[in-house]
């Protein structure tokens, strides 16, 4: 890991328009899925992005790769401005930044063999000269992710969930990327398989100096794999810090509530700790609360939280938080 940023995300916004009417559609509003998110990811680092379902984690991952058009803000990956990249430049960016998907069943074309799936990026980016070289490369990638190269001509439905996820990882690696968005790569897998896949991702990172954006909702897994963690709530990042700092000294009340929900594998400790249970539901991202987005559920909210949007500021070394009540 060094200190040059590989990915810079600056005030990223992604709004999805909502339209009404069958024949004459008109826009009636927006789902503000991502509303002003900023972060950087350094070379060789893993940034964890956590938050509950529907807070916009996946949208962040897909938008920074340019899979959704960016509504506002700037994303730079390795000197490529994602919003402006077109044609050849976009093609180069696609090679350098890849994605691993959550659902290992939906993310592989059921009509393609493993060989065709893994070689797609190689073919699209013309990374090899001949067919035999391509086959060699696919076999090499399969070995790398722990699949037997003998299975090269099998179809996805002949594999288990964990094996399919390995195929997805091999595909992401095939174009020799520097940056990979891991969109909940383990949440669809059994716990025993989760550990294997996480270890594989770590090994690959060491080997190829990969940089990850690791999107997850399993906080203990995030602590294991990530270097820094950012916590999202309703389309915005509320706190980010190095992982130990965040887990030992959480500042934002939402982070506190999230961490208090992590199961502790020790009944004695578990009995003594305090669970912070938030009241109410996540507000709708179509019409998010004014001021601090969390004020509707915050245990320490003051009247001014309703009016003034808290600034995302640095309060300790590399510890950022968006809350009025934190000194």
């Amino acid at each position: 890991m060094d200190n040059t940023p590989l990915v810079i995300v600056d005030k990223l916004k992604k709004y999805f328009p909502i339209s009404k009417g069958l024949l004459f559609q008109k826009q009636t509003g927006f789902v503000k899925a991502v509303d002003g998110v900023s972060f950087v990811i350094f070379h060789g680092e893993t940034l964890g992005l956590v938050g509950e379902s529907g807070c916009g984690k996946t949208t962040v991952g897909r938008t920074i790769l340019g899979l959704y058009p960016i509504t506002e803000g700037r994303v730079v990956i390795e000197n490529f401005d994602v919003a402006k990249a077109k044609g050849v430049e976009l093609h180069q960016l696609r090679q350098k930044a890849q994605m691993i998907f959550q659902d290992p069943y939906a993310s592989l074309n059921p009509r393609w063999t493993v060989s065709a799936i893994i070689s797609e990026p190689i073919r699209v980016h013309h990374l090899v000269q001949s067919e035999t070289e391509k086959t060699e490369r696919v076999k090499e990638l399969m070995q790398l992710v722990g699949l037997s190269p003998r299975l090269i001509n099998r179809f996805p439905h002949e594999f288990s969930g964990g094996q399919r996820q390995r195929i997805g990882i091999a595909r992401a690696l095939a174009s020799q990327p520097d940056f990979i968005v891991c969109d909940e790569p383990i949440s669809a897998l059994d716990v025993s398989i989760q550990a294997q896949v996480v270890n594989l991702l770590e090994d690959l990172q060491d080997r190829f100096q990969l940089t990850y954006l690791f999107i997850a909702h399993d906080l203990s897994m995030v602590r294991h794999i990530c270097d820094r963690v950012a916590v999202m709530y309703l389309g915005a990042i509320v706190e980010s810090a190095d992982k130990d700092e965040l887990y030992e000294h959480p500042l934002h009340p939402y982070t506190n509530a999230l961490l208090s929900a992590v199961p502790i594998p020790d009944p004695k400790k578990d009995r003594n700790r305090q669970r912070i249970i938030l009241t109410g539901d996540v507000p709708s991202p179509i019409n998010p609360p004014s001021g601090c987005r969390f004020h509707t559920r915050c245990p320490i909210a003051k009247p001014h939280c309703k009016e003034i949007t808290p600034e995302f500021r640095e309060v300790g070394s590399n510890h950022w938080v968006a809350c009025h009540e934190i000194a």
């Binding site: 994605m99 998907f101 939906a106 090994d203 080997r207």
Partner: protein
């Protein structure tokens, strides 16, 4: 280096490779009795039409011989002779070829148009989709038979005869093929659009986009193979429909023009001799019936066999 936990994994030894999708489909197809019977009959009918020309020369199909007009089936003329003394057996053989070729060519046009319009509408969505689908609906709202008759009447005699492989065909064959193709693609376009709409939402399409695969390649290599089942079924049934469509416009005298025979235009005029010379309509009618039925049974079997949701083996 890989850690032990990952390197030791998954060296599985599945000895017998599981059935591929194709093998599964074939297995299901062979269990479908009616489809097998349909397939068998279809092969026999193709052998009859195309193999028959090895035994009966084409000139017999067009040789008029007024003195023996309307003679009933005999050893000399097993299917009898028609109103100008042509041999009905020879005409059903050569007419069958034309009917089947019309069916297949029309379906090629129909399927290409249907896939093109459906795929573009379903994949790109938005305004392009609205535009193409409104056009499709407009086409659907015009009664097909009416369109066929108008177009056949309009273009009918404007194309000169063509010679292919040493045989002369009436130019109207081309006209019929084109107009049947142009008036029947709408249902397929809607099916293809619906398939594309659902398949394009899969993560593997997003993965292909993230890889940098072009839209054209995504359409052709990713989505189309996944929607091939309903297309094959529709194309199969389309052949039967095209043969029928040819038969009824030919029966109205607007289809393929003499001297080229088709099963359809052999029926033209036979209605005057329903009782006095039943062999005129019985043989071509029976052949149309058998062909259309066989293709429909075959299509049914194919639908069950290649439907990916069908779990039965």
């Amino acid at each position: 280096m890989l850690t032990e936990s990952t390197s030791n994994l998954l060296i599985d030894d599945l000895e017998a490779p599981p059935l591929t999708l194709k093998k599964l489909a074939w297995k299901r197809f062979t269990r479908h009795k009616m489809a097998m019977v349909g397939g068998l009959f279809l092969i026999l009918l193709i052998l009859y039409s195309f193999g028959g020309s090895l035994f009966v020369e084409e000139k017999y199909a067009n040789l008029t011989n007024p003195p023996i007009r309307l003679s009933p089936p005999s050893l000399q003329h097993p299917f009898g002779t028609d109103t100008v003394g042509r041999d009905v057996l020879a005409r059903t053989i050569y007419g069958g070829q034309i009917s089947m070729i019309i069916g297949i060519l029309a379906v090629i046009i129909e399927t290409s148009l249907g896939i093109l319009i459906g795929a573009v509408a379903g994949y790109y969505g938005g305004k392009i989709d609205s535009l193409l689908m409104r056009f499709t609906e407009a086409m659907l709202n015009i009664p097909e038979i009416f369109l066929l008759i108008v177009m056949a009447k309009f273009f009918g005699n404007k194309i000169p005869n063509l010679t292919l492989l040493g045989r002369t065909f009436s130019g109207s064959v081309v006209v019929i093929v084109v107009i049947i193709g142009l008036t029947s693609w709408m249902y397929l376009a809607r099916i293809v659009r619906a398939e594309f709409l659902s398949i394009k939402e899969n993560d593997f399409i997003l993965a292909a986009k993230a890889t940098g695969t072009s839209n054209g390649e995504i359409i052709i290599r990713h989505i189309l193979p996944n929607s091939i089942a309903p297309i094959i079924v529709s194309a199969t049934l389309g052949v039967a429909n095209a043969i029928l469509a040819e038969a009824y416009i030919s029966f109205l005298g607007l289809g393929v023009q003499p001297p080229t025979a088709t099963w359809g235009n052999m029926l033209d005029g036979a209605n005057n001799y329903i009782e006095s010379a039943p062999w005129l309509w019985f043989f071509p009618g029976l052949l149309i019936l058998l062909t259309v039925l066989s293709i429909n049974f075959l299509g049914d079997g194919l639908r069950d066999a290649i439907d990916p949701h069908s779990r039965a083996i």
